[in-house]
């Protein structure tokens, strides 16, 4: 019986990675859920907006680094964030002008906007690759670990290591902070409320003197901010590769939807649900069981419910089960 080692193993391989991954998903899902909540369509271009924004951040980071600027233990990319957000917001606002506004005026059905956003996705996808290329880029600097696995082993004398990366901590902190801000903004500020009003009933918002173009612009700007923050943190933790950002889209959508579309809290809950089900349900309990159980009972097999081949399948299955009981997500989302 070695509860301590079992606990550390569980923390190291399940709890910490899943929490960090969940926060990453949640940050992406916040952007998706915001667009859905206010502009009422699922924005397929969000993944590529994240990629483009991160691309800008990387370019500025390189420039800053070439000037010798650094943030000490924090990644230089944080300094570049505002530039990245500004540039991305500009691109996104231009896209809105050139593309989405037309359909808004037409009062096109949401599904048309979804398909249009796919068109935008393709274009942005290509533009990102023109700007920054397809290669994998690592742009993280600063301290890498808060707790390093080997040092942890040495200092505690345990058999199991525990790792906690700085980027993981930053992501979790950012997710919590951003969701609180967004929640506060949407529910307490005048602009936030006017955005919700616009999403509820566009015509009536007009009759209340709300300027729809302003609402739309603010929404896009915030969404760009969210996308760039999410993309940058993800890139710092893993690495930047344009294709992966596109792939991130599916779990991000899943998080936003299972949490309840339009709800910032739902995005967080959804992100964690997906992450924990992916990591937790396919975890092989062999190691933990060996520590906890007496030797005679230790499993020979992996003590794994399902192989990791099925991790997406498992998380999606869980998602479906949740939806069967809560048809509009955990936090009563919208549906158009």
């Amino acid at each position: 019986m070695d509860l301590l080692n079992a606990l550390v193993a569980l923390l190291n391989f399940v709890v910490i990675p899943a929490t960090a991954y969940g926060a990453q998903l949640a940050l992406g899902a916040l952007g998706v859920t915001l667009i859905y909540g206010i502009l009422r369509f699922s924005n397929f271009a969000h993944g590529d907006t994240m990629a483009l924004g991160t691309g800008f951040v990387i370019l500025v980071t390189w420039w800053l680094q070439s000037l010798g600027v650094s943030l000490g233990p924090l990644p230089t990319a944080f300094l570049a964030l505002p530039f990245g957000i500004a540039a991305t917001a500009a691109v996104v606002l231009l896209t809105d002008r050139g593309v989405y506004r037309f359909y808004r005026r037409q009062k096109a059905a949401p599904v048309i906007l979804v398909i249009v956003s796919m068109g935008v996705m393709f274009v942005m996808n290509g533009v990102t690759r023109f700007v920054i290329g397809v290669e994998e880029i690592r742009f993280a600097d600063g301290a890498r670990f808060l707790i390093n696995a080997n040092e942890f082993k040495k200092s505690t004398g345990l058999a199991e290591g525990l790792a906690f990366k700085a980027s993981q901590a930053q992501t979790i902190a950012a997710a919590v902070l951003v969701v609180a801000l967004l929640f506060w903004f949407l529910n307490k500020t005048r602009t936030g409320k006017s955005m919700r009003a616009y999403s509820d009933n566009e015509d009536l918002a007009l009759l209340s003197g709300i300027n729809p173009e302003r609402v739309v612009a603010v929404t896009w700007i915030i969404a760009s901010g969210l996308a760039v923050i999410a993309g940058t943190l993800y890139g710092l933790d893993k690495s930047f590769k344009a294709f992966n950002y596109f792939q991130l889209l599916l779990p991000v959508f899943a998080s936003a939807i299972v949490g309840g579309l339009g709800s910032p809290l739902g995005a967080i809950a959804g992100g964690f649900l997906i992450a924990f089900s992916e990591v937790g349900l396919t975890y092989a309990w062999k190691k933990v069981a060996t520590y906890v159980l007496p030797e005679a009972l230790a499993p020979d097999g992996l003590a794994q419910l399902l192989s990791t081949d099925y991790k997406f399948a498992v998380s999606f299955a869980l998602l479906i089960v949740v939806l069967l009981f809560k048809p509009t997500g955990l936090f009563k989302g919208k549906s158009v």
């Binding site: 859905y36 699922s42 397929f44 593309v99 037309f102 359909y103 037409q106 096109a108 599904v111 048309i112 979804v114 398909i115 249009v116 796919m118 068109g119 935008v120 996705m121 393709f122 274009v123 942005m124 996808n125 290509g126 533009v127 690759r129 023109f130 290329g133 397809v134 599916l250 959508f253 899943a254 939807i257 299972v258 579309l261 192989s307 081949d309 099925y310 997406f312 399948a313 999606f316 299955a317 998602l319 479906i320 939806l323 069967l324 048809p327 509009t328 997500g329 989302g333 549906s335 158009v336």
Partner: protein
Amino acid sequence: MNTRNILLFAGMAALIVLEGSTTFGGIFGGSWNTALFILNFGLLSAIMALGVNMQWGYAGLFNVGVVGFIALGGLAPVLIATPPVTEVWTAGGVGRLVFALIVGLGVIALAIVLNHRLKGRVRLAALCVTLIGGFFLYRALFDPAVEVIEAFNPATNSNLGGLGLPVLLSWPVGALLAAGAAWLIGKTALGLRSDYLAIATLGIGEIIVAVLKNEDWLARGVKNVIGIPRPVPYEVDLQASPAFVDFAAGFGAEPVVASTVVVKLLYAGLFLAILLLLTAASELALKSPWGRMMRAIRDNEVAAGAMGKNVTGRHLQIFILGSAVCGLAGAMMVTMDSLHNPGTYSPLRFTFLIWVMVIVGGSGNNWGAILGGFLISFLWLKVEAWGPAALEYLTAGMDPASPLREHLKDSAAHMRLIALGLVLLLVLRFSPRGLIPEK
């Protein structure tokens, strides 16, 4: 159909003919082979688009698990037409596998019965015991059976093999497989609405593809099955046949070209026949009181229910029909490729691209979906060549040695997606409700 629509279809046909007959400065291929390939691909896509249009256009069901149904349909040619692997039958693998599957179904059936018969806490406990116990029992039977099957010649087999029947038979079987899955899914998930149904179906699609990728015993998983039998002759056989060579010479054609064109034409004939049949059936249905009822349900489910229409039942019906059509197309596609390659089933390609076809064509309208299928297929296949060419043209004025130009040319392949996106946006800009909108 009005003149405008006929013109649109004529335009589409003209594009394909141009592709076959002229190069027009590199815009078209000038090869009947590519033209016919695009045509066949367009026919397949049109059928898939019809299936999605049934679900979305008629009934408003937001199914984005299309890829799953296409993939399931694609399983059929492998299971029906490839030669049987007698070794795993004699080794007892198949028998044990079937037994395991029957036990698995039995467990589920028992759970359903218990769910109906019992109440309250007892029910929960009984269900948990049955399902968990059943799962382990099933795995205990299933895993060794799979081991036997997968142990046989992993490089080329490790699967059940097929039944060695004619491949055409696999097309209806593909439809049935997809329909069966749709029934199961529809029973559970159709209570969901809009994007929530979307993500549920997306998940189911992913699950189906995951199973196809990872269950090697079924169809070799990601290791692919190649050389699936064809319903049409092989080009090399035609080239070797003196009769055919004479026949080709009669047209003044080279045997190689003639054989490739003839084979594609044969496929085109088969596909076209099926497309026409499906279109006729869909049009008849849509223009009848059945279609009116479906539109009513799509417009307002609550009111349709109050007016005596069984919304759930109809949703299930259309979900099954649409999925079956997708499954059929999946089987046809695998047959044409003579390759079963589950790695290829990405949602972008087989769900969202099909959706693009439906919306660009005009949802709710069969002709729209078909036109969208052809147009988007054409673009999907053609932009591959257009993108780099356009870039070449754009950068022609630049200094050949300039690093920017080099960079741009290196990225030329990505013009593919930009071009596709731009064309998509343009089409939707000029006909926001699709090329042939629903009236």
